[in-house]
């Protein structure tokens, strides 16, 4: 992983439109961001799509990054992309409910690719509520501190800590 100085240089390069710097940022963060999307959606195709969208957004929005934790900024963009996806999914669900009879055969949930295996963790994560699951993934993949996560979610640090503790405790129990 790049140290802070290297990362700062890369970000400056990105701000100047240097494609090599963008490529390096992709190399550094693609895996973690992909893991974040995958654990939230449980679907590879969808995660591919969301990851591509994230880096396209990165190109568009890099000028708006004004310092501070880059991970925090990047995962905030990732979180917004995921929430946009959830909203569009909800809209499609509503549309499906309205026209259920006509389009019942159309499956809204994206299907899994043939070679995908559902692991135990994925099954247990689905038993948790969306917010807790997202919080756990944000903490694990973004590697942000509680303070940064609380700031990102605009909630008191005690609330973030309590929610995450409850969630992880539950996950531990489910995984036993």
């Amino acid at each position: 992983m790049a140290n802070n100085d290297d990362l700062a240089k890369l970000i400056i390069g990105c701000k100047h439109g240097d494609s090599k710097c963008f490529s390096q940022v992709v190399d550094i963060y693609a895996s973690r961001c992909y893991g974040y999307f995958y654990r939230l959606t449980g679907n590879r195709d969808l995660s591919d799509e969301l990851l591509s969208e994230l880096f396209v957004k990165l190109v568009e929005k890099i000028a708006s990054y004004k310092g501070g934790s880059f991970e925090g900024w990047l995962f905030r963009v990732a979180s917004n992309i995921f929430h946009d996806y959830l909203r569009s999914k909800q809209r499609r669900k509503k549309l499906l409910d309205v026209h259920k009879e006509q389009i019942e055969s159309e499956i809204v949930e994206p299907k899994k690719s043939g070679n995908e295996q559902i692991d135990l963790l994925e099954i247990q994560l689905k038993k948790m509520d969306d917010d807790t699951r997202e919080l756990i993934m944000l903490r694990f993949y973004s590697q942000l501190s509680f303070k940064e996560i609380a700031k990102m979610r605009s909630e008191p640090i005690g609330t973030t800590l309590a929610k995450l503790h409850r969630g992880l405790k539950k996950l531990r129990e489910l995984m036993k």
Binding site: Y34, S47, S52, V59, Q143, S145, A162, L168, R172
Partner: protein, 173 residues
């Protein structure tokens, strides 16, 4: 930056829980994170990463063109603003100049008259006007003394007409 590595979880928990509960809380978090590490999410395909990089490379020139266009527009706007300001300044300057010309309003009065000691003789119009007034004064005096040989009414009306004519002539000039 307040990184995760600098974070003291136990200390953080102890702000909200007792020391014992804090210890248990930290253990819960560390063990759950251990589970997450033991079940890694799949890695993105190399093909996907290559596609993303290609997409970025494709978008960058467009972005640069956008930036260039934006800059060009800004420069054009600035140039236009400078031109407008210059034009306004010039027109104001011109007005100022003509206003200063108006300050030469005194030139409408001939310098000879302006510097004259006897305006009544130096100004031709005024001299004529003065002569006419003197003529009228004479006629009036004649009338008052009854020296007029003709009809007094007609002399008065003639005098009146003359006055009107003089008045018109004066204002015409």
């Amino acid at each position: 930056m307040n990184s995760r590595n600098d974070e003291n979880l136990k200390e953080l928990f102890e702000r909200f829980l007792s020391a014992e509960q804090a210890e248990s809380g930290v253990e819960d978090i560390l063990k759950a994170e251990q589970i997450l590490r033991q079940h890694p999410a799949p890695e993105p395909d190399n093909m996907l990463i290559a596609n993303i990089k290609a997409e970025i490379a494709m978008r960058l020139p467009a972005k640069r063109t956008k930036i260039f266009t934006k800059t060009a527009y800004r420069v054009a706007c600035a140039a236009a603003a400078i031109l407008v300001v210059s034009a306004i300044s010039l027109s104001l300057f011109d007005n100022g100049a003509s206003e200063s010309g108006q300050e030469q309003y005194s030139s409408m009065i001939p310098t000879a008259i302006w510097e004259s000691d006897d305006i009544a003789t130096d100004d031709a119009d005024l001299a004529i006007f003065t002569i006419e007034i003197e003529q009228i004064e004479d006629e009036l005096r004649t009338l008052q003394l009854g020296e007029s040989a003709g009809n007094g009414d007609s002399s008065l009306s003639q005098l009146e007409m003359e006055l009107v004519a003089i008045n018109n002539d004066f204002w015409k000039e």
